[in-house]
Amino acid sequence: MVPALKIDALSKTYPGGFQALKGISLQVQQGDFFALLGPNGAGKSTTIGIICSLVAKTGGSIQVFGVDIDVDFPGAKKHIGIVPQEFNFNMFEKVGDIVVNQGGYYGLPLPLARQRAEKYLRALGLWEKRDNASRMLSGGMKRRLMIARALVHEPRLLILDEPTAGVDIEMRRSMWDFLQEINRAGTTIILTTHYLEEAEALCRNIAIINHGEIVEYGSIRDLLRRLHREVFIFDSAGKLPEPLTLRGFEVRRVDDHSFEVEVEKGQHVNEVFEGLSAAGVRVTSMRNRANRLEEMFVKLVESAA
């Protein structure tokens, strides 16, 4: 099965000499939910811009479902739906018209474009707003409008560039549900995001890009398995004994009722509980101090700096 996206030695040097991409290569398999992560200016948006023809590449090649963009870009574009970072629709146009027109640009006959627009505007909770000028929508609604617009031609590959930026938690969760649903239905999804818990919750595979180079690439599960230590925060029912020590573990007291424990690779959390029971500490809750992916991301980006 051909990959949904195959990038080989992709490079981009902007006029002025800034090298945004230094020959990156990666593959996204069909049906994948893939995260492209990196700090600001790492090259994520440049990569996406090249895939959807808004940025001209300097070198390398891109294939979308086996279609080379240098050979048949219109053919490749038919497979792609793009949700950019910035709002890029006419603020004076009606919500419904924006989605229907986009269908027209992909060659959908008007009745079918209208039918699809209704389907996706309803799915994203915007159908009631179809006759409103798009400038009247809230920020979260505008983001959902761009998703509906990107889906109207039912692309096999959906690329979302920070789709939940500035969206409230409830709305973010409902967008996650929606994206998982269309991924389950067969759409390959590539996501860039600054919310690493979002990538961990949604994506199966990941590429971390920094200074125009891929610094990590693989399945999120494998990457997390390589983490050498994790820090857990515990809350106790009563006041903590003074001093609080656990044999074999580094313990840091946060306040009278909570403390942090570092668990190295090879150690088990059961041993922590055994030690705590022996010390008479009754635990009411336990959580990771930081998002695990975030820990790895920071480590990779810092080591590359």
């Binding site: 902007y14 811009g49 959807c52 023809s53 808004l54 940025v55 001209a56 870009f73 219109p74 053919g75 574009k77 038919k78 792609i80 793009i82 950019p84 910035e86 709002f87 890029n88 629709f89 006419n90 603020m91 004076f92 146009e93 018209d97 924006i98 027109n101 986009q102 269908g103 027209g104 640009y105 992909y106 060659g107 959908l108 006959p109 008007l110 617009r149």
Partner: protein
Amino acid sequence: MSLREQYIALMTLLRKEIRRFLRIWPQTLLPSAITMSLYFVIFGSLIGSRIGEMGGFRYMEFVVPGLIMMAIVTNSYSNVVSSFFGSKFNHSVEELLVSPTPNYVILLGFLLGGIARGLLVAIIVTAVSLFFTRLPIYNIGIVMLVVLFTSTLFALAGFINGVYANNFDDISIIPTFVLTPLTYLGGVFYSLDLLPEFWANVSKLNPLVYVVNAFRYGVLGVSDVNVTFAFAMIAVFTVLLFFYSMHLLSSGKRLRQ
């Protein structure tokens, strides 16, 4: 994209363009009707009655074809320049650029939008002019051809201006400092026969002279220039600007990074 899909994309863009100028009709259609009515009243009725005949016709009859052409030129130009620059400014042009729509369809869509507005304004101004004078049509074929070619030519010029424009000032510079003076000096209000030979020859370097006179020939049957030559000039410039516009779109100048 199949031909049918390309046709759908073209019609989508044209529909959007027509909706745009109809939605803001007080800015796009009304000003020409008001301005031209004032021209008809002031130059045609008040001053024209004292001028007498020009080119063998009453002054009002003489100026009407030029004024209609003036409306077509300014409206087809400004429709495309403002629409295309607007879509660049708010980035909605990316909706087209990321789609499989071929460049020539994108160009045609904007051009047809400009032509449609030019034609609609021409109809409005012609209807208004009928309140002031009769409008004999000498050759309807020539009238239609000149209208079509001229609106296409100036829609193309507006497109090129839209591609190069970086801000809203840039889209008003050409209409204000180039198009309007050339139109006023293009024989709309006078016959070149009135000018000394030197200035009459200088005037013939003005492309608007050919557009106005070719249209006047179609309506009244008189022209200061050779009509065949005028058609040839309009056609040559239309073809040149079309290919230059296509080059701008293909190279992605000011559109793609």
